[in-house]
Amino acid sequence: MLRLAVLPGAVCGGCDVALASLGERLLELLKHYEVVYWPTVVDRKLSDLLKLDSVDVLIHMGGISVEEEAELAREISSRARVKVSFGTCSVYGDIPGLNSLYTPEEVYEAIASQVDARIRSERLGLPRPIEYSAYTDIVEPEVLAPGCPPDELVLDQLFELLVKYAETGRLEARLVLLGDSESLCNKCPRNPKTSKVVVPGIKRLYEVRLDENKCFLEQGVLCMGPATRAICDHSCVRVNYPCTGCGGPVEWGSDAGLSAMSAVASALMADMEKAVLEPGLVGELDEVRDVVGSFYRYTLRKSLIYKLKKARSSGE
């Protein structure tokens, strides 16, 4: 029996649900693994986990946002043979990573400024917020399972991988990035694979009646598909919603936001640049009021712009 531990960091629970949705296959896993820790599902105390000097597989969910969380993640990871970074928070920082541009104080103030009353009361020890980071920023995992939350495709691959590891005790590569190594565009049912993909102008979601078959970019709707790793079966596109990029970049370490930004900007009105000229183009580009939220919703924490901002504020 191998030991499997599931350690949540800063999570929403989506990853728990996703992992739990293996359903009957969980039982299959239980043939190979003893779940020594999974607070959401198994009533075992952390103290029990800390008694173990080693676990075979650690599945880490969520990002890192307090000192204690970081310590814990490092501690347990140091005892784990295989570390799986599970879910986009853990791998890329995900939506909470959008706060990477602010200090914890600024974040707290946003809440504090809205309440009706601030009460002087007993002050119990609260964990020390640190700058939010992805699990992969503090630990080097062997397996990356992106997705918000990870979709069937990734879950299947992870399941296979875990069973295989239980049988062989080996992994295919030093770093395994789950999902198919191509962008969502490649198999997108809306990509005719002919003609051009001219972005006629940029429309925000409240401005456009979404065509259920046409490429979103050709409808002027931002879609991260071209730059996003294929970690799902076009879950969102299939229900007529553009890809927002939760799968992260096609290749580990590249900046999906910048690539998508460059691609979209380049294809924007490519057929009429000389007619509308700079002002016409600016008019469309300015439709994107929220560049960060549009191109970096899930990967800001890993972006060049974040690093730049960081370097800057540390420089000051």
Binding site: E182, K196, E251, A263, S266
Partner: protein, 642 residues
């Protein structure tokens, strides 16, 4: 990497400001650099020898020459490294003269900058690979689309260079608009007299193959090997058997307006457009022919075949010249001038026919409505042109031909009156201004102003023109016999053809050239050239000049039988590509297409700008020797240096 850096003093040009010795020291520290030295004049024989020797002695596999600019000496040093057995793609130049020593005084800073520039060059070189030049066999044959004066000129020019030509004309005869003209400005020589010999010559030329009644249906392939599908409509008359006896025409019961005389006269359903038509043969207008068969009976050579079908032929050519010419702006769009409503309002080409001795009135100037001799004519310039609600551009030739019309009219009709409404008179051209002057001396009255409306006075049959004279600042009313509209020029090009050839146009369907100054006859689609008014309003000499130059450009591609190109173009990693089509979209040359779901670059068509590479969301398409990783390394390298 074994890179050598060679720093040129260029006498004092560089060394006077840049501390060359220090640059050499610093260069030695750069990653991959195994050798660095300086010399007074690297471009000199001994300088080049020094590079060659160093390559051999130190087994260099890359060379950076820090000197002037590639535009000046890249070839020089490329040959040098090739002499030493190194590929030219393993050479980089660092322009520390123009970009540094010549623009800075501060020795310290200039020296640092030199090192940064060199560091960039070294970093780029580190990622460069060696490529063979691209060579493509081409079909030594050209196609000219459009048999007007531009097309004829292009075809003849090529044929005379020994390059076979296929000339495609959609009308039953070549000759185009020029054939309709009476005389040409500013010399007033007869158009037919100069055009028809050319028509005959091109028809005779053994290397020229002419399709009339033909239109391009589709185009496959690319520069060097275009497969062009041509739809050829039936002529109904075997050209070689037609003796031009005209019996058929006489017995033909069907009458329709003559295109050649622009409706001012009638022709039969079997007809010859005009006497000197080429090919010299009758043609059946199958649209109107009733198939009564009378012509069949009278034809002495049995040349007529009313059951002839249209056919689809394919021609393979290496280059295409588009010379589809122009049409007049549809006068119906200018209702204020009453064209169509009133027979005595005619367009400029109709007036050419009226003037012409072969024209509907045998050259006598009578009003179309009641054949009454014309005494007073009003010419309206800029009919459609220079008008934002119609054609914002100037059609360029109208001022001149209007002057010509007016002058010819006054010559023909003693005591006649000619009035010209104009916005500006544009006579920029050899002998043009003088010509306008002559017209005015002849008594042509020029009125600066616009015409408000034109209407027929039923009582007198006059055409009344109400306008405004801006100079005298007064309303002006002229009772004329005839009104001539100087209609603007619009492109005769249609979307079907532009899409087949992948050539862009401006909003008025005039072909956009690759570069308006440097490459005025080349379209962004490699191997597709443009001549005449297809590219924009022009007069005859300009069209001819451009046609000749288009022919020359075509010859440049075809004459050697193959094209050789710089291999530094885009290439696709098909494993990475996801077929998102962004590259296809941004490529200005149609050089990228999606094949089996993934992008493929046509090396011959690609010009190597790298727009696709910079747009690719997954870095699958890269510009050779300017890959993204190279670019990023260069950036880091220049900033790494203190």
């Amino acid at each position: 990497m074994r890179i050598g850096v060679f720093v040129c003093h260029c006498g004092v040009n560089i060394a006077g400001v840049v501390n060359v010795k220090r640059v050499v020291e610093e260069a030695r520290k750069l990653p991959g650099v195994v050798h660095a030295e300086d010399y007074t004049y690297m471009c000199s024989e001994p300088g080049q020898e020094l590079i060659v020797r160093a390559i051999r002695e130190h087994g260099l596999d890359g060379v950076v020459v820090a000197a002037c600019t590639p535009s000046l000496h890249y070839e020089t040093f490329a040959r040098a490294v090739e002499r030493a057995g190194l590929s030219r793609y393993r050479l980089e130049m660092a322009s520390i003269r123009e970009l540094d020593s010549w623009v800075h005084l501060d020795k310290e800073l200039a020296t640092e900058k030199a090192v940064r520039i060199i560091a960039g060059a070294v970093a780029k070189l580190a990622g460069s690979r060696v490529y063979e030049p691209i060579r493509l066999e081409v079909t030594r044959r050209a196609m000219v689309i459009g048999g007007g004066i531009a097309g004829i000129t292009a075809a003849l020019t090529l044929a005379k260079m020994g390059i076979p030509v296929v000339l495609v004309e959609k009308a039953p005869t070549i000759g185009g608009k020029m054939a309709m003209l009476h005389e040409t400005f500013p010399t007033l020589d007869c158009a037919q007299c100069i055009l028809t010999p050319l028509m005959a010559e091109v028809a005779r030329h053994p290397l020229v193959k002419i399709y009339t009644l033909a239109e391009v249906e589709g185009v496959e392939g690319y520069v060097g090997n275009f497969k062009v599908k041509i739809r050829v409509k039936p002529r109904g008359v075997r050209v070689e058997d037609c003796r031009l006896c005209g019996f058929c025409e006489r017995v033909c019961p069907v009458e329709v307006p003559s295109e050649f005389n622009r409706g001012l006269s009638k022709r039969k359903a079997i007809y010859i457009p005009f006497a000197q038509a080429v090919p010299a043969a009758y043609v059946v207008d199958f649209e109107h022919c009733t198939r009564c068969g009378r012509c069949l009976k009278v034809c002495p050579t049995k040349a007529i075949n009313l059951d002839q079908r249209e056919e689809l032929v394919e021609e393979v050519v290496g280059a295409v010249i588009v010379a589809t010419g122009y049409e007049l702006y549809p006068p119906e769009k200018l209702p204020e001038y009453q064209y169509g409503a009133e027979d005595d309002v005619v367009d400029s080409l109709q007036f050419e026919r009226i003037l012409d001795v072969q024209g509907p009135t045998r050259g006598e100037i009578r009003r179309p409505s009641d054949k009454k001799p014309v005494k007073r004519v009003v010419f309206i310039q800029c009919a459609g042109s220079r008008d934002v609600s119609h054609l914002p551009y100037c059609s360029k030739i109208c001022c001149m031909y209007t002057a010509k019309h007016a002058m010819l009219f006054l010559e023909r009709v003693p005591g006649g009156e000619a009035y010209v409404f104009y916005i500006d008179v544009r006579a920029g051209g050899k002998g043009f201004e003088e010509f306008i002057k002559r017209a005015q001396e002849h008594g042509v009255v020029y009125i600066k102003g616009r015409v408000a409306r034109v209407y027929k006075d039923r009582a007198t049959g006059d055409v009344v023109v109400e306008g405004y004279d801006l100079l005298d600042n007064r309303e002006i009313v002229i009772r004329a016999d005839l009104v001539v509209l100087a209609l603007g020029m619009v492109s005769a090009l249609d979307k079907k053809l532009t899409e087949a050839l992948k050539i862009p146009t401006d909003p008025y369907m005039f072909v956009s050239e690759v570069h308006p100054k440097l490459r005025p006859v080349e379209t962004p689609a490699a191997g597709v050239l443009v001549a005449g008014t297809t590219q924009g309003p022009k007069d005859i000499p300009e069209s001819i000049a451009q046609a000749a130059s288009a022919a020359a450009k075509a010859a440049e591609l075809l004459i050697r039988g193959y094209i050789e190109r710089d291999p530094l173009v885009a290439e696709v990693d098909r494993d990475k590509c996801n077929g998102c089509r962004v590259c296809v979209t941004v490529c200005p040359y149609g050089a990228v297409e999606i094949v089996e779901g993934k992008a493929r670059v046509n090396e011959v068509v690609c010009e190597g700008c790298g727009a696709c590479a910079a747009s690719c969301p997954v870095g699958a398409i890269q510009l050779r020797n300017y890959t993204e990783s190279q670019a990023l390394e260069v950036v880091k390298a220049v900033l790494r240096v203190k």
